[in-house]
Amino acid sequence: MSRPVLKVEHLKKYYPIRKGAFSKEKTVVKACDDVSFELYTGETLGIVGESGCGKTTTIQSVIRLIEPTDGTILLNGEDFRAMRGEELKQARQKLKLIFQDPYSSLNPRMTVKEIISEPLEIAGVCPDRAERDRRVLETMEQVGLDPSYVNRYPHEFSGGQRQRIGIARAIVLRPDVVICDEPVSALDVSIQAKIINLLRQFQRELDLAYIFISHDLGVVRHIAHRVLVMYLGRVVEEGESKELFARPLHPYTQALLASVPRMDAEGKPAPALQGDVPSPADPPSGCLFHTRCPYAQEMCAAHAPELREVSAGHKCACHFAGGLPSKGE
Protein backbone atom coordinates (compact mmCIF):
# COMPACT_ATOMS: atom_id res chain seq x y z
CA MET A 1 0.00 0.00 0.00
CA SER A 2 1.10 3.56 -0.58
CA ARG A 3 1.96 6.22 1.95
CA PRO A 4 -0.70 6.74 4.67
CA VAL A 5 -2.84 9.85 4.25
CA LEU A 6 -2.70 10.42 8.00
CA LYS A 7 -0.03 9.13 10.30
CA VAL A 8 -0.14 9.77 14.04
CA GLU A 9 2.79 8.85 16.23
CA HIS A 10 3.04 8.85 20.02
CA LEU A 11 0.29 11.42 20.37
CA LYS A 12 -0.09 12.66 23.94
CA LYS A 13 -2.48 15.07 25.60
CA TYR A 14 -1.91 15.70 29.31
CA TYR A 15 -3.99 18.01 31.46
CA PRO A 16 -2.32 19.36 34.59
CA ILE A 17 -4.43 19.32 37.75
CA ARG A 18 -3.65 20.27 41.31
CA LYS A 19 -3.53 17.31 43.61
CA GLY A 20 -4.77 18.48 46.99
CA ALA A 21 -6.52 21.59 48.21
CA PHE A 22 -3.34 23.46 49.05
CA SER A 23 -0.60 21.30 47.71
CA LYS A 24 1.57 22.89 45.11
CA GLU A 25 2.22 19.44 43.76
CA LYS A 26 0.70 19.07 40.37
CA THR A 27 -0.23 15.89 38.65
CA VAL A 28 -1.39 15.25 35.12
CA VAL A 29 -4.41 13.52 33.71
CA LYS A 30 -3.26 11.52 30.72
CA ALA A 31 -6.37 11.91 28.63
CA CYS A 32 -4.60 10.51 25.61
CA ASP A 33 -1.33 8.71 26.13
CA ASP A 34 1.00 7.51 23.41
CA VAL A 35 -1.53 6.85 20.68
CA SER A 36 -0.18 5.91 17.25
CA PHE A 37 -1.99 4.86 14.11
CA GLU A 38 -1.91 5.09 10.34
CA LEU A 39 -4.81 5.78 8.07
CA TYR A 40 -4.87 4.98 4.34
CA THR A 41 -7.06 6.35 1.58
CA GLY A 42 -10.41 4.62 1.32
CA GLU A 43 -10.03 3.05 4.73
CA THR A 44 -12.05 3.41 7.93
CA LEU A 45 -10.37 3.29 11.30
CA GLY A 46 -12.78 2.64 14.17
CA ILE A 47 -11.99 3.80 17.69
CA VAL A 48 -14.00 2.17 20.47
CA GLY A 49 -14.01 2.45 24.20
CA GLU A 50 -16.23 3.49 27.08
CA SER A 51 -16.86 7.10 28.04
CA GLY A 52 -13.75 8.73 29.45
CA CYS A 53 -11.39 6.45 27.55
CA GLY A 54 -9.94 9.36 25.58
CA LYS A 55 -11.43 8.72 22.14
CA THR A 56 -12.69 12.27 21.78
CA THR A 57 -9.51 13.83 23.22
CA THR A 58 -7.49 11.82 20.73
CA ILE A 59 -9.32 12.99 17.64
CA GLN A 60 -9.60 16.56 18.88
CA SER A 61 -5.82 16.54 19.30
CA VAL A 62 -5.32 15.00 15.88
CA ILE A 63 -7.38 17.76 14.32
CA ARG A 64 -5.71 20.38 16.57
CA LEU A 65 -8.93 21.60 18.07
CA ILE A 66 -6.92 21.19 21.27
CA GLU A 67 -3.15 21.38 21.04
CA PRO A 68 -1.57 18.00 21.77
CA THR A 69 1.14 17.87 24.44
CA ASP A 70 3.46 15.77 22.34
CA GLY A 71 3.60 13.55 19.29
CA THR A 72 3.73 13.79 15.52
CA ILE A 73 0.86 14.15 13.09
CA LEU A 74 1.70 13.68 9.43
CA LEU A 75 -0.99 14.68 6.97
CA ASN A 76 -0.08 13.50 3.47
CA GLY A 77 3.45 13.18 4.74
CA GLU A 78 3.69 16.75 6.01
CA ASP A 79 4.03 17.77 9.62
CA PHE A 80 0.57 19.02 10.56
CA ARG A 81 1.59 20.10 14.05
CA ALA A 82 4.28 22.46 12.75
CA MET A 83 1.94 24.27 10.39
CA ARG A 84 0.91 27.86 11.01
CA GLY A 85 -1.18 30.52 9.32
CA GLU A 86 -2.17 30.08 5.71
CA GLU A 87 -0.43 26.71 5.42
CA LEU A 88 -2.48 25.38 8.31
CA LYS A 89 -5.66 26.79 6.82
CA GLN A 90 -5.02 25.00 3.54
CA ALA A 91 -4.15 21.77 5.34
CA ARG A 92 -7.37 21.99 7.35
CA GLN A 93 -9.33 21.70 4.14
CA LYS A 94 -8.13 18.13 3.87
CA LEU A 95 -9.23 17.18 7.37
CA LYS A 96 -12.87 17.47 8.37
CA LEU A 97 -15.01 16.62 11.36
CA ILE A 98 -18.59 15.39 11.80
CA PHE A 99 -20.03 15.81 15.27
CA GLN A 100 -22.33 13.66 17.32
CA ASP A 101 -25.14 15.99 18.21
CA PRO A 102 -27.09 17.06 15.15
CA TYR A 103 -28.75 19.74 17.27
CA SER A 104 -25.78 21.73 18.54
CA SER A 105 -23.55 21.20 15.53
CA LEU A 106 -25.45 23.61 13.31
CA ASN A 107 -25.65 27.33 14.06
CA PRO A 108 -29.37 28.04 14.54
CA ARG A 109 -29.00 31.56 13.08
CA MET A 110 -27.55 30.45 9.77
CA THR A 111 -29.35 29.03 6.77
CA VAL A 112 -28.37 25.72 5.23
CA LYS A 113 -26.63 27.59 2.45
CA GLU A 114 -24.54 29.65 4.86
CA ILE A 115 -23.66 26.56 6.88
CA ILE A 116 -22.53 24.49 3.93
CA SER A 117 -20.71 27.33 2.20
CA GLU A 118 -18.79 28.46 5.28
CA PRO A 119 -15.84 26.07 4.70
CA LEU A 120 -15.69 27.30 1.09
CA GLU A 121 -15.56 30.91 2.24
CA ILE A 122 -12.88 30.24 4.83
CA ALA A 123 -10.74 28.29 2.41
CA GLY A 124 -11.32 30.97 -0.21
CA VAL A 125 -11.47 28.33 -2.93
CA CYS A 126 -14.28 29.82 -4.94
CA PRO A 127 -14.46 33.55 -4.66
CA ASP A 128 -17.29 33.63 -7.16
CA ARG A 129 -20.58 33.61 -5.32
CA ALA A 130 -22.52 31.90 -8.09
CA GLU A 131 -19.94 29.16 -8.28
CA ARG A 132 -20.11 28.72 -4.52
CA ASP A 133 -23.88 28.47 -4.56
CA ARG A 134 -23.68 25.91 -7.33
CA ARG A 135 -21.37 23.74 -5.25
CA VAL A 136 -23.63 24.05 -2.22
CA LEU A 137 -26.63 22.89 -4.23
CA GLU A 138 -24.66 20.07 -5.78
CA THR A 139 -23.49 18.87 -2.40
CA MET A 140 -27.01 19.02 -0.98
CA GLU A 141 -28.14 16.84 -3.83
CA GLN A 142 -25.36 14.41 -3.08
CA VAL A 143 -26.27 13.94 0.55
CA GLY A 144 -29.94 13.50 -0.31
CA LEU A 145 -31.29 16.90 0.71
CA ASP A 146 -33.75 18.75 -1.49
CA PRO A 147 -31.80 21.76 -2.85
CA SER A 148 -34.96 23.86 -2.61
CA TYR A 149 -34.44 23.93 1.17
CA VAL A 150 -31.24 25.87 0.72
CA ASN A 151 -32.53 28.98 2.46
CA ARG A 152 -34.07 27.24 5.44
CA TYR A 153 -32.82 27.11 8.99
CA PRO A 154 -31.61 23.98 10.82
CA HIS A 155 -34.71 23.97 13.06
CA GLU A 156 -36.80 22.90 10.14
CA PHE A 157 -35.03 19.59 9.75
CA SER A 158 -35.24 16.27 11.55
CA GLY A 159 -32.23 14.75 13.32
CA GLY A 160 -31.30 12.59 10.36
CA GLN A 161 -31.57 15.49 7.93
CA ARG A 162 -29.44 17.68 10.18
CA GLN A 163 -26.77 15.03 10.20
CA ARG A 164 -26.90 15.09 6.39
CA ILE A 165 -26.28 18.85 6.51
CA GLY A 166 -23.28 18.16 8.76
CA ILE A 167 -21.98 15.62 6.25
CA ALA A 168 -22.52 18.04 3.36
CA ARG A 169 -20.47 20.65 5.21
CA ALA A 170 -17.70 18.14 5.79
CA ILE A 171 -17.44 16.87 2.21
CA VAL A 172 -18.03 20.10 0.29
CA LEU A 173 -14.27 20.73 0.08
CA ARG A 174 -13.51 17.14 -0.99
CA PRO A 175 -11.27 16.36 1.99
CA ASP A 176 -8.93 13.40 2.32
CA VAL A 177 -9.87 12.49 5.85
CA VAL A 178 -13.22 12.81 7.62
CA ILE A 179 -13.33 12.25 11.35
CA CYS A 180 -16.74 11.11 12.59
CA ASP A 181 -17.27 11.58 16.32
CA GLU A 182 -20.19 9.32 17.21
CA PRO A 183 -22.16 10.55 14.20
CA VAL A 184 -25.09 8.16 14.64
CA SER A 185 -25.31 7.82 18.41
CA ALA A 186 -28.08 10.37 18.79
CA LEU A 187 -30.20 8.86 16.05
CA ASP A 188 -32.83 6.13 16.04
CA VAL A 189 -31.80 2.83 14.49
CA SER A 190 -33.76 3.21 11.27
CA ILE A 191 -32.20 6.64 10.62
CA GLN A 192 -28.81 5.44 11.79
CA ALA A 193 -28.84 2.80 9.05
CA LYS A 194 -29.46 5.45 6.39
CA ILE A 195 -26.61 7.65 7.57
CA ILE A 196 -24.19 4.74 7.76
CA ASN A 197 -25.06 3.70 4.23
CA LEU A 198 -24.55 7.27 3.06
CA LEU A 199 -21.11 7.49 4.68
CA ARG A 200 -20.06 4.21 3.10
CA GLN A 201 -21.26 5.35 -0.28
CA PHE A 202 -19.15 8.53 -0.07
CA GLN A 203 -16.16 6.51 0.94
CA ARG A 204 -16.47 4.46 -2.23
CA GLU A 205 -17.17 7.41 -4.48
CA LEU A 206 -14.74 9.99 -3.11
CA ASP A 207 -12.06 7.67 -1.77
CA LEU A 208 -12.36 9.16 1.69
CA ALA A 209 -10.53 7.93 4.74
CA TYR A 210 -12.62 7.86 7.90
CA ILE A 211 -11.81 7.82 11.56
CA PHE A 212 -15.03 6.57 13.07
CA ILE A 213 -15.61 6.88 16.79
CA SER A 214 -18.44 5.03 18.43
CA HIS A 215 -19.36 3.22 21.60
CA ASP A 216 -21.65 0.96 19.56
CA LEU A 217 -19.55 -2.05 18.70
CA GLY A 218 -22.06 -3.31 16.13
CA VAL A 219 -21.79 -0.09 14.14
CA VAL A 220 -17.98 -0.06 14.31
CA ARG A 221 -17.79 -3.65 13.22
CA HIS A 222 -19.98 -2.86 10.27
CA ILE A 223 -18.21 0.24 9.02
CA ALA A 224 -14.56 -0.04 10.13
CA HIS A 225 -11.73 -1.85 8.41
CA ARG A 226 -9.38 -1.53 11.33
CA VAL A 227 -10.19 -0.91 14.98
CA LEU A 228 -8.42 0.67 17.96
CA VAL A 229 -9.68 -0.20 21.42
CA MET A 230 -8.90 2.43 24.05
CA TYR A 231 -8.96 2.24 27.83
CA LEU A 232 -8.05 5.16 30.13
CA GLY A 233 -6.30 7.11 27.39
CA ARG A 234 -4.23 4.23 26.05
CA VAL A 235 -4.63 1.91 23.10
CA VAL A 236 -5.00 -1.61 24.44
CA GLU A 237 -5.66 -3.42 21.20
CA GLU A 238 -5.46 -2.74 17.51
CA GLY A 239 -6.27 -4.96 14.57
CA GLU A 240 -8.21 -5.68 11.41
CA SER A 241 -11.89 -5.39 12.24
CA LYS A 242 -12.85 -8.96 11.33
CA GLU A 243 -9.87 -10.43 13.14
CA LEU A 244 -10.32 -8.29 16.24
CA PHE A 245 -14.00 -9.04 16.62
CA ALA A 246 -13.50 -12.74 15.95
CA ARG A 247 -10.43 -13.22 18.13
CA PRO A 248 -10.14 -10.41 20.66
CA LEU A 249 -6.83 -10.72 22.51
CA HIS A 250 -7.05 -8.18 25.30
CA PRO A 251 -9.21 -9.14 28.29
CA TYR A 252 -10.82 -5.69 28.11
CA THR A 253 -11.85 -6.14 24.50
CA GLN A 254 -13.16 -9.57 25.35
CA ALA A 255 -15.26 -8.14 28.19
CA LEU A 256 -16.52 -5.34 26.00
CA LEU A 257 -17.70 -7.76 23.35
CA ALA A 258 -19.27 -10.07 25.90
CA SER A 259 -21.22 -7.17 27.42
CA VAL A 260 -23.07 -6.24 24.25
CA PRO A 261 -26.62 -7.52 24.41
CA ARG A 262 -27.22 -9.43 21.20
CA MET A 263 -30.39 -10.06 19.31
CA ASP A 264 -29.34 -13.46 18.07
CA ALA A 265 -28.48 -15.15 21.32
CA GLU A 266 -30.88 -15.80 24.09
CA GLY A 267 -29.64 -15.82 27.61
CA LYS A 268 -29.56 -13.78 30.72
CA PRO A 269 -27.11 -10.92 30.87
CA ALA A 270 -23.86 -11.82 32.58
CA PRO A 271 -21.71 -8.87 33.57
CA ALA A 272 -18.22 -9.54 32.30
CA LEU A 273 -16.55 -6.85 34.40
CA GLN A 274 -17.01 -5.66 37.94
CA GLY A 275 -16.74 -2.10 39.14
CA ASP A 276 -16.31 1.19 37.35
CA VAL A 277 -13.53 2.61 35.23
CA PRO A 278 -10.88 4.06 37.61
CA SER A 279 -10.49 7.82 37.79
CA PRO A 280 -8.07 9.09 35.13
CA ALA A 281 -6.66 11.50 37.74
CA ASP A 282 -5.52 8.57 39.84
CA PRO A 283 -4.87 5.71 37.42
CA PRO A 284 -3.81 2.25 38.60
CA SER A 285 -0.16 1.28 38.54
CA GLY A 286 1.27 -1.03 35.94
CA CYS A 287 -1.30 -2.26 33.48
CA LEU A 288 -4.18 0.22 33.67
CA PHE A 289 -6.69 -2.60 33.40
CA HIS A 290 -5.33 -4.84 36.17
CA THR A 291 -7.86 -3.64 38.78
CA ARG A 292 -10.74 -5.07 36.81
CA CYS A 293 -9.02 -7.81 34.87
CA PRO A 294 -10.11 -11.37 35.62
CA TYR A 295 -6.67 -12.72 34.70
CA ALA A 296 -4.55 -10.17 36.55
CA GLN A 297 -1.33 -11.46 38.09
CA GLU A 298 1.16 -9.78 40.37
CA MET A 299 3.31 -8.58 37.53
CA CYS A 300 0.35 -6.74 35.99
CA ALA A 301 0.28 -4.30 38.90
CA ALA A 302 3.98 -3.69 38.61
CA HIS A 303 4.72 -3.46 34.91
CA ALA A 304 2.82 -1.69 32.17
CA PRO A 305 2.61 -3.93 29.12
CA GLU A 306 3.78 -2.65 25.74
CA LEU A 307 1.54 -2.63 22.71
CA ARG A 308 3.11 -5.49 20.74
CA GLU A 309 2.25 -7.27 17.56
CA VAL A 310 0.83 -10.69 18.41
CA SER A 311 -0.11 -11.80 14.92
CA ALA A 312 0.17 -9.98 11.60
CA GLY A 313 -1.41 -6.55 12.00
CA HIS A 314 -2.96 -7.45 15.36
CA LYS A 315 -1.43 -5.62 18.31
CA CYS A 316 -2.31 -5.95 21.94
CA ALA A 317 -1.09 -4.40 25.19
CA CYS A 318 -1.30 -7.35 27.54
CA HIS A 319 1.45 -9.42 29.14
CA PHE A 320 -0.44 -12.59 28.34
CA ALA A 321 -1.78 -11.70 24.91
CA GLY A 322 -2.27 -14.80 22.85
CA GLY A 323 -1.98 -17.01 25.88
CA LEU A 324 -5.44 -16.27 27.24
CA PRO A 325 -8.54 -18.24 26.40
CA SER A 326 -10.21 -16.40 23.55
CA LYS A 327 -13.64 -15.26 24.57
CA GLY A 328 -14.68 -13.96 21.19
CA GLU A 329 -16.94 -16.05 19.10
Binding site: I63, L65, L88, K89, R92, Q93, L95, K96, L97, F99, Q100, D101, S104, S105, L106, N107, P108, R109, M110, I115, E118, P119, I122, A123, E141, Q142, V143, G144, L145, D146, Y149, R152, Y153, H155, E156, F157, S158, G160, Q161, R164, R169, L198, E205
Partner: protein, 292 residues
Amino acid sequence: MKRKREPSPVLTYRGYYRESWELLKRDPLAMVSLVIVIFLVIIAVFAPLIAPYDPDKQVLSQKLMDPCLEHWFGCDKHGRDILSRCIYGCRVSLSVGLVSQIIATVIGYFMGVCAGYFGGKADAVISFLIQVFSSLPDLLLAMALMFALGSGLVNLYISLGVLAWARTARLIRGTVLQLKEKEYVKSCKVDGGSDLRVILRHLLPNCIPTLIITVTMGIPSAILSEASLSFLGLGVRSPMASWGSMIAESQEFFRSKAFYSLFPGLCIIVAVIAFNTLGDGLRDALDPKLRK
Protein backbone atom coordinates in the same frame (compact mmCIF):
# COMPACT_ATOMS: atom_id res chain seq x y z
CA MET B 1 -24.42 10.89 -8.07
CA LYS B 2 -27.96 11.58 -6.95
CA ARG B 3 -29.46 10.25 -3.80
CA LYS B 4 -33.00 9.51 -3.00
CA ARG B 5 -34.17 12.63 -1.23
CA GLU B 6 -35.39 12.73 2.29
CA PRO B 7 -39.10 13.50 2.58
CA SER B 8 -39.89 17.18 2.97
CA PRO B 9 -39.75 18.61 6.49
CA VAL B 10 -43.11 19.09 8.06
CA LEU B 11 -42.26 22.00 10.30
CA THR B 12 -42.40 25.48 8.92
CA TYR B 13 -39.90 27.86 10.41
CA ARG B 14 -39.48 31.41 9.27
CA GLY B 15 -36.30 32.45 10.93
CA TYR B 16 -35.63 33.04 14.58
CA TYR B 17 -36.79 36.63 14.87
CA ARG B 18 -39.97 36.16 12.85
CA GLU B 19 -40.82 33.24 15.08
CA SER B 20 -40.05 35.27 18.22
CA TRP B 21 -42.22 38.08 16.96
CA GLU B 22 -45.08 35.62 16.40
CA LEU B 23 -44.65 34.43 19.99
CA LEU B 24 -44.50 38.00 21.29
CA LYS B 25 -47.67 38.90 19.44
CA ARG B 26 -49.49 36.15 21.32
CA ASP B 27 -48.53 37.74 24.67
CA PRO B 28 -51.17 40.43 25.36
CA LEU B 29 -49.27 42.00 28.27
CA ALA B 30 -46.13 42.41 26.20
CA MET B 31 -48.10 43.90 23.32
CA VAL B 32 -49.81 46.42 25.59
CA SER B 33 -46.44 47.44 27.03
CA LEU B 34 -44.98 47.66 23.56
CA VAL B 35 -47.73 50.10 22.62
CA ILE B 36 -47.04 52.13 25.77
CA VAL B 37 -43.31 52.16 25.03
CA ILE B 38 -43.95 53.39 21.48
CA PHE B 39 -46.34 56.01 22.88
CA LEU B 40 -43.66 57.20 25.35
CA VAL B 41 -41.06 57.35 22.61
CA ILE B 42 -43.38 59.51 20.48
CA ILE B 43 -44.00 61.83 23.43
CA ALA B 44 -40.28 62.12 24.10
CA VAL B 45 -39.38 62.81 20.47
CA PHE B 46 -42.19 65.26 19.78
CA ALA B 47 -42.28 66.89 23.23
CA PRO B 48 -42.20 70.48 21.94
CA LEU B 49 -45.18 69.76 19.66
CA ILE B 50 -47.21 67.89 22.24
CA ALA B 51 -46.61 69.95 25.39
CA PRO B 52 -49.34 72.57 25.79
CA TYR B 53 -47.05 75.09 27.51
CA ASP B 54 -43.41 76.00 27.83
CA PRO B 55 -42.21 73.75 30.66
CA ASP B 56 -39.87 76.37 32.10
CA LYS B 57 -42.18 79.36 31.87
CA GLN B 58 -43.02 80.64 35.34
CA VAL B 59 -46.44 82.19 35.82
CA LEU B 60 -46.59 83.39 39.40
CA SER B 61 -50.36 83.76 39.38
CA GLN B 62 -50.65 80.03 38.74
CA LYS B 63 -48.53 78.99 41.72
CA LEU B 64 -49.62 75.57 43.06
CA MET B 65 -52.75 75.65 40.95
CA ASP B 66 -54.93 72.55 41.29
CA PRO B 67 -55.57 70.44 38.20
CA CYS B 68 -58.13 72.08 35.96
CA LEU B 69 -59.16 72.11 32.30
CA GLU B 70 -56.29 74.38 31.23
CA HIS B 71 -53.68 72.65 33.36
CA TRP B 72 -54.64 68.95 33.53
CA PHE B 73 -51.96 68.05 36.07
CA GLY B 74 -51.97 71.43 37.81
CA CYS B 75 -49.04 73.80 38.26
CA ASP B 76 -45.94 73.70 40.47
CA LYS B 77 -44.54 76.08 43.05
CA HIS B 78 -43.18 78.38 40.35
CA GLY B 79 -46.44 78.28 38.40
CA ARG B 80 -45.08 76.00 35.67
CA ASP B 81 -47.45 73.59 33.93
CA ILE B 82 -46.87 70.10 35.42
CA LEU B 83 -48.19 68.25 32.36
CA SER B 84 -45.71 70.00 30.12
CA ARG B 85 -42.94 69.30 32.59
CA CYS B 86 -43.93 65.62 32.73
CA ILE B 87 -43.80 65.48 28.90
CA TYR B 88 -40.35 67.02 28.84
CA GLY B 89 -39.35 64.76 31.75
CA CYS B 90 -40.16 61.81 29.52
CA ARG B 91 -37.40 63.02 27.20
CA VAL B 92 -34.90 63.02 30.03
CA SER B 93 -35.89 59.62 31.37
CA LEU B 94 -35.99 57.83 28.03
CA SER B 95 -32.82 59.38 26.75
CA VAL B 96 -30.98 58.54 29.96
CA GLY B 97 -32.28 54.98 29.73
CA LEU B 98 -31.36 54.52 26.10
CA VAL B 99 -28.01 56.30 25.97
CA SER B 100 -26.71 54.76 29.18
CA GLN B 101 -27.70 51.30 27.94
CA ILE B 102 -25.99 51.85 24.61
CA ILE B 103 -22.79 52.82 26.43
CA ALA B 104 -23.17 49.85 28.76
CA THR B 105 -23.83 47.45 25.89
CA VAL B 106 -20.84 48.53 23.88
CA ILE B 107 -18.45 48.24 26.84
CA GLY B 108 -20.19 45.18 28.24
CA TYR B 109 -20.28 43.22 24.99
CA PHE B 110 -16.63 43.89 24.28
CA MET B 111 -15.52 42.96 27.80
CA GLY B 112 -17.86 39.97 27.97
CA VAL B 113 -16.65 38.50 24.69
CA CYS B 114 -13.00 39.07 25.62
CA ALA B 115 -13.47 37.35 28.96
CA GLY B 116 -15.60 34.50 27.70
CA TYR B 117 -13.92 33.75 24.41
CA PHE B 118 -10.25 34.25 25.17
CA GLY B 119 -10.34 33.14 28.81
CA GLY B 120 -7.11 32.99 30.79
CA LYS B 121 -5.69 36.25 32.11
CA ALA B 122 -8.13 38.48 30.23
CA ASP B 123 -10.97 36.55 31.84
CA ALA B 124 -9.42 36.79 35.31
CA VAL B 125 -8.99 40.57 35.10
CA ILE B 126 -12.39 41.29 33.57
CA SER B 127 -14.20 38.94 35.94
CA PHE B 128 -12.57 40.70 38.88
CA LEU B 129 -13.61 44.10 37.52
CA ILE B 130 -17.15 42.83 37.03
CA GLN B 131 -17.22 41.71 40.63
CA VAL B 132 -15.84 45.01 41.88
CA PHE B 133 -18.44 46.95 39.94
CA SER B 134 -21.32 44.78 40.99
CA SER B 135 -20.27 44.75 44.65
CA LEU B 136 -21.35 48.30 45.34
CA PRO B 137 -24.96 49.32 44.86
CA ASP B 138 -25.27 51.13 41.51
CA LEU B 139 -26.97 54.12 43.08
CA LEU B 140 -24.11 54.73 45.50
CA LEU B 141 -21.45 54.65 42.80
CA ALA B 142 -23.62 56.78 40.56
CA MET B 143 -23.93 59.32 43.36
CA ALA B 144 -20.18 59.41 43.79
CA LEU B 145 -19.66 59.84 40.05
CA MET B 146 -22.30 62.55 39.76
CA PHE B 147 -20.72 64.22 42.76
CA ALA B 148 -17.38 64.26 40.96
CA LEU B 149 -18.68 65.14 37.49
CA GLY B 150 -21.31 67.59 38.62
CA SER B 151 -24.99 67.41 37.74
CA GLY B 152 -26.28 67.56 34.18
CA LEU B 153 -27.78 65.34 31.54
CA VAL B 154 -24.58 64.29 29.77
CA ASN B 155 -22.97 63.38 33.05
CA LEU B 156 -26.02 61.25 33.85
CA TYR B 157 -25.57 59.37 30.57
CA ILE B 158 -21.93 58.76 31.34
CA SER B 159 -22.18 57.72 34.95
CA LEU B 160 -25.19 55.43 34.52
CA GLY B 161 -23.72 53.95 31.36
CA VAL B 162 -20.31 53.35 32.82
CA LEU B 163 -21.81 51.66 35.85
CA ALA B 164 -24.20 49.36 33.98
CA TRP B 165 -21.56 47.65 31.86
CA ALA B 166 -20.78 45.03 34.49
CA ARG B 167 -24.22 43.44 34.29
CA THR B 168 -24.11 43.21 30.49
CA ALA B 169 -20.57 41.91 30.55
CA ARG B 170 -21.45 39.20 33.05
CA LEU B 171 -24.39 37.97 30.99
CA ILE B 172 -22.46 38.08 27.72
CA ARG B 173 -19.53 36.26 29.30
CA GLY B 174 -21.85 33.49 30.44
CA THR B 175 -23.51 33.24 27.05
CA VAL B 176 -20.18 33.17 25.24
CA LEU B 177 -18.84 30.47 27.57
CA GLN B 178 -21.82 28.32 26.63
CA LEU B 179 -21.62 29.13 22.92
CA LYS B 180 -17.90 28.42 22.83
CA GLU B 181 -18.58 24.78 23.59
CA LYS B 182 -21.12 24.47 20.81
CA GLU B 183 -20.06 22.14 18.08
CA TYR B 184 -20.72 24.66 15.33
CA VAL B 185 -18.12 26.97 16.84
CA LYS B 186 -15.67 24.08 17.02
CA SER B 187 -16.36 23.09 13.45
CA CYS B 188 -15.69 26.65 12.30
CA LYS B 189 -12.32 26.46 14.05
CA VAL B 190 -11.59 23.06 12.54
CA ASP B 191 -12.28 24.56 9.13
CA GLY B 192 -9.64 27.15 9.90
CA GLY B 193 -11.96 30.06 10.66
CA SER B 194 -10.29 33.01 12.39
CA ASP B 195 -11.26 34.24 15.85
CA LEU B 196 -12.80 37.32 14.26
CA ARG B 197 -14.97 35.13 12.07
CA VAL B 198 -16.10 33.07 15.06
CA ILE B 199 -16.93 36.21 17.03
CA LEU B 200 -18.78 37.94 14.20
CA ARG B 201 -20.50 35.05 12.44
CA HIS B 202 -21.21 32.70 15.32
CA LEU B 203 -21.05 34.49 18.66
CA LEU B 204 -22.60 37.86 17.86
CA PRO B 205 -25.79 36.59 16.17
CA ASN B 206 -26.35 34.19 19.05
CA CYS B 207 -25.71 36.91 21.65
CA ILE B 208 -28.20 39.35 20.18
CA PRO B 209 -31.22 37.89 22.02
CA THR B 210 -29.31 38.27 25.30
CA LEU B 211 -28.41 41.85 24.38
CA ILE B 212 -32.00 42.71 23.46
CA ILE B 213 -33.17 41.42 26.82
CA THR B 214 -30.44 43.18 28.84
CA VAL B 215 -31.08 46.48 27.13
CA THR B 216 -34.84 46.24 27.62
CA MET B 217 -34.38 45.31 31.26
CA GLY B 218 -31.59 47.86 31.77
CA ILE B 219 -33.62 50.85 30.58
CA PRO B 220 -36.13 50.76 33.45
CA SER B 221 -33.40 50.46 36.07
CA ALA B 222 -31.59 53.39 34.50
CA ILE B 223 -34.84 55.37 34.57
CA LEU B 224 -35.26 54.56 38.26
CA SER B 225 -31.65 55.49 39.02
CA GLU B 226 -32.02 58.79 37.17
CA ALA B 227 -35.20 59.56 39.09
CA SER B 228 -33.50 58.73 42.39
CA LEU B 229 -30.45 60.85 41.58
CA SER B 230 -32.58 63.77 40.47
CA PHE B 231 -34.69 63.36 43.58
CA LEU B 232 -31.53 63.67 45.68
CA GLY B 233 -30.48 66.74 43.68
CA LEU B 234 -27.63 64.97 41.90
CA GLY B 235 -29.34 64.49 38.56
CA VAL B 236 -30.34 67.03 35.97
CA ARG B 237 -29.55 70.68 36.49
CA SER B 238 -32.53 72.85 37.36
CA PRO B 239 -34.66 74.16 35.80
CA MET B 240 -34.62 71.13 33.49
CA ALA B 241 -37.67 69.01 34.15
CA SER B 242 -37.13 65.48 35.38
CA TRP B 243 -39.70 63.23 37.00
CA GLY B 244 -37.43 62.67 39.97
CA SER B 245 -36.63 66.31 40.58
CA MET B 246 -40.31 67.21 40.25
CA ILE B 247 -41.10 64.79 43.06
CA ALA B 248 -38.31 66.32 45.11
CA GLU B 249 -39.76 69.81 44.60
CA SER B 250 -43.22 68.56 45.57
CA GLN B 251 -42.04 67.12 48.86
CA GLU B 252 -42.46 70.27 50.92
CA PHE B 253 -46.09 70.59 49.81
CA PHE B 254 -47.16 67.01 50.50
CA ARG B 255 -49.56 68.01 53.24
CA SER B 256 -51.66 70.27 51.08
CA LYS B 257 -51.05 69.39 47.43
CA ALA B 258 -51.20 65.64 46.87
CA PHE B 259 -51.49 65.98 43.07
CA TYR B 260 -48.09 67.63 42.89
CA SER B 261 -46.10 64.47 43.54
CA LEU B 262 -48.73 62.08 42.21
CA PHE B 263 -48.35 62.69 38.45
CA PRO B 264 -44.58 62.56 38.03
CA GLY B 265 -44.56 59.39 40.14
CA LEU B 266 -47.23 57.81 37.97
CA CYS B 267 -45.19 58.69 34.91
CA ILE B 268 -42.18 56.84 36.35
CA ILE B 269 -44.29 53.81 37.26
CA VAL B 270 -45.95 53.59 33.85
CA ALA B 271 -42.65 53.89 31.99
CA VAL B 272 -40.82 51.42 34.20
CA ILE B 273 -43.65 48.87 34.21
CA ALA B 274 -43.94 49.11 30.43
CA PHE B 275 -40.24 48.40 29.89
CA ASN B 276 -40.12 45.66 32.53
CA THR B 277 -43.16 43.86 31.14
CA LEU B 278 -41.88 44.19 27.60
CA GLY B 279 -38.57 42.78 28.81
CA ASP B 280 -40.34 39.80 30.40
CA GLY B 281 -42.27 39.21 27.22
CA LEU B 282 -39.13 39.44 25.09
CA ARG B 283 -37.34 37.03 27.37
CA ASP B 284 -40.13 34.48 27.01
CA ALA B 285 -40.24 35.00 23.25
CA LEU B 286 -36.49 34.89 22.70
CA ASP B 287 -35.54 32.21 25.22
CA PRO B 288 -34.20 29.26 23.29
CA LYS B 289 -35.01 26.99 26.22
CA LEU B 290 -38.71 27.36 25.60
CA ARG B 291 -38.22 26.42 21.97
CA LYS B 292 -37.59 23.03 20.54
